[in-house]
Symmetry: C2
Subunit: 258 residues, 2 copies
Amino acid sequence: MNKDRPLILVTNDDGITAPGIRTLIEVMNEIGEVWVVAPDSPQSGMGHAITVNETLYVDRIIVDPDAPQKEYSCSGTPVDCVKLATNELLKRKPDLCVSGINHGSNSSINVIYSGTMSAAVEAGTVGIPSIGFSLLDYSLEADFSHVKSYVKTLAIQALNHGMPKGVVLNVNFPKQNASGIKGMKVCRQANAHWIENFDKRTNPLGRDYYWLTGDFVNEDKGEDTDEWALKHGFVSIVPVQFDLTAHHAIKDINTWDL
Amino acid sequence: MNKDRPLILVTNDDGITAPGIRTLIEVMNEIGEVWVVAPDSPQSGMGHAITVNETLYVDRIIVDPDAPQKEYSCSGTPVDCVKLATNELLKRKPDLCVSGINHGSNSSINVIYSGTMSAAVEAGTVGIPSIGFSLLDYSLEADFSHVKSYVKTLAIQALNHGMPKGVVLNVNFPKQNASGIKGMKVCRQANAHWIENFDKRTNPLGRDYYWLTGDFVNEDKGEDTDEWALKHGFVSIVPVQFDLTAHHAIKDINTWDL
């Protein structure tokens, strides 16, 4: 790595024009040479989807002619963006990949549905230090001002330390409140899940359809979880791995009559 | 659970008419009461995507009027199918969810891109014993005859034993060959990744576009991996978890200057 001028890939899942990625670009421009490769439209909930049966388009775009970063918008998913960036668009392997800042939480089980985090994970699979950032505010007018210094600190620390092998970071920020953020906490993912309440309607042609809506259920009261940290005003940092093997369960399954 | 007549949810990512899911339905009909809720079109590579900005349609379909199973085709992703099945369509929580049989490998890092496995994981998040099955043959004319007995054994064992908490199974089958399958092996996910070779073309209007293609790179020579097992003619069984926390890395990150 050129420590004076690290190469930083920025992506997200809310689309290249979302305020969250604009904040992330602004902060990364203070640290290194920034290349943005992000979806041309919102891709929330895309998880680790890739585009295998359709073509991908990429356009060089200029959002601000005076800004230093290079920007590309892509017709694919967040993971497609990272693959295109690292294999086709960037001149070399980036020193850091940052994804977000997502408009809405990616804490706990939300990590598995999150395009923001899947983009970060994709970069991690090819050995790029990588962080996904999310703010617990779904609004497009969300205020990101209180998180900038934390984003900068974490990016610099990741550049300085590198990342443990096979690990990326899932960082969530509480919404701004009067008392401010209390600090950062390294946490485990809370053991929570969703229970869906589908909203069933009938379209003008008389055909039923559904909207997916649900309730987040967290029965994990551990004070070492991301949910606890966020509820108590801390930034949550969960080290996330993409070796999904439940090593502890191998012994169990070996007792089966196979 | 009613052990005489367990309720089994069947889904996949290749779409409800794919030969792989037809084989799975056939085997499950020997074990219990089968409800099929699967995508109306191929959804390969959809990972854990959910449909949040569009509506979902569900249709009761009858593929074979003499068959005992109930079948629904859904306009959404594999994960949407599981959510709709468990929260809206099925009369009670199923005793087992099986997904597949996928046309193509979901071993190693492929687990994170796989709609087949994400459907299984989704069922796991709400406590349903769940298994994703895949065959290392992408062809739509793939021969599934040699895997039926293994599918049945695994489903029965999962019903009898239940699943370790927070775990689902990722089962991959080698292609049929003259010597047959050598047995089943409980494994860890091989530490492999993809390097993409985008196929860049120009459309009739002169605009460049890309097809995603890539090479699978496995530098993990461990004999306890799924890749090793499959290469040597065994069925690979990887217990997969959806708590993505890299617990071992918490200590590392806590040494950062945060």
